[in-house]
């Protein structure tokens, strides 16, 4: 994010998701788009969903 925010007054109104969370959202959104588009799913998509779940688990502390 190239900087640090100051949290007084209203919530920051211009920030967009970034970092690992931003990446997870970006990939998840694309996965959803592919799912909507594609009839025949590539095997890599299943693997991708698994790896994203791993990253989510780490980020939100849900690892087994």
């Amino acid at each position: 994010m190239n900087g640090h925010a100051v949290w007084y007054g209203p919530a920051i109104q211009e920030a967009a998701l970034s970092g690992d969370v931003g990446k997870m959202r970006e990939v998840a959104t694309q996965v959803e788009e592919y799912l909507a588009e594609a009839g025949d799913l590539p095997a890599a998509l299943e693997l991708l969903k698994l790896e994203i779940a791993k990253l989510e688990g780490k980020t939100y502390h849900r690892e087994k």
Binding site: Y8, I12, V27, L48
Partner: protein, 476 residues
Amino acid sequence: MTVSDRPKRFRTPEDYALKRPVHAVWEITLSCNLRCVHCGSAAGEPRKSELSTDECLQVVESLAQLGTREITLIGGESYLRRDWTDIVAAIKRRGMYCAIQTGGYGLTGKLLDRAVDAGLDGVGVSIDGLEDVHDAFRGVPGSFRAAARAVQESRARNLRVSVNTTVTQASLHKIEPLAKQLVDMGVTHWQVGLMVPMGRGTRSEELLLQPSDLLTLFDSLVNVFEFCAQNGLVMHCGNSLGYFGPFEHLWRGAGDDQVHWRGCSAGETVIALESDGTVKSCPSLNADDHGFGSSRDAPVDVLWKNSRVAEAAGTADEDTSFCRTCYYSSVCDGGCTWVTDSLGQKSKDNPYCHYRVLALASEGLSEEISLVDGGVEGPFSMGEFSVKRVPIEPSKAVIAERHSAKLKAFPQAGAQAGIDAGDSLVTCKNCYCYVYPTENTCPHCENGLDAAQKEHDTLLLRIDELMNEVREALDT
């Protein structure tokens, strides 16, 4: 994110070096049409001698000269001043971002139209719970609907809209439905903070969270954060909520773990004003302890520059309290000064800290805060509180154990010797606790930092590769 599209409020190394007041929070009137039980400034009636329009325009000029990039107008209710849009227009003429923070009661479309014409950029609306909780908290029936309408009317005018929520005992268990409601309302930015007992808030001890309630709150906020991220709502924690521990990486950087709590910015890169021209280091702090003088006696830029000496002289406070001996002490400095001042912790020892709650829980303890004397209620008045250690409740101990499942130790200050407090910390990619950049092994989970980082990078790389494979497979 390029420099030009970065939020104005984000600070650069130069801002720190020059001690530039990047963000100004300015109470332009203490007049208010709500009677919120937590109100630190005990707002209602205007102050006896509020600044004239000309004096306000002079303040805008001084702030522009100091390099301020964002001004938030607060109250009371800023729009109860007849000339509030003249102030907005002056701020915009000097190229600064301008937002108001409001309860939204009586903020009509007509008023907003005038503000938009003046150049207002954003509206922050306070919503402290679902309708019943909010109306009781704000002291006026219908205030939730008014706030929701203010969100709607502001969005309709393409203003940037955010919501601030103060968490109390009344809303502690209802944060998830509130998040859902905010998503339904189309809110895009949300800041969550703690109720801090100041001003009128010294009269509502029963609404205050206890430090161990942070376990319940953070448990819920992790889910809420994920839900918000999935639904286009960027959630942040305010200054009063923290600090470090395994979830800090979620709370301040909109998902970017390079952004973490770096100590109180009051008087460093934030400046505040009261409606009679009193200049201080933070909008929430009491001017008797944190004031620099009045804009009626000297221009704000002169008061700010002179204040540097006073602030630097007042920070040498060594003791053996939990915060002073904490691993994070040199970066954190006991969290939010508003919280520690309000609790009478002049040496900045802060019981409202997730990391501290987890550390104490590992010894079977928690802390309990009780009001000893509410004092005389007034703007930014403070009561007297006691903090004592007691055995942790079993239900809370279970949550603490879950939150610290990966943590083996809660190290003390010392490991960071020689580190500049301005340095950024890094996350251990195993337990997600922050560590000083000179560490090789995480002092919390005892994992090798490099190995955990490599594993993390490999995972990110794998995701990129798979994404490319999927793209190629779909393109053919």
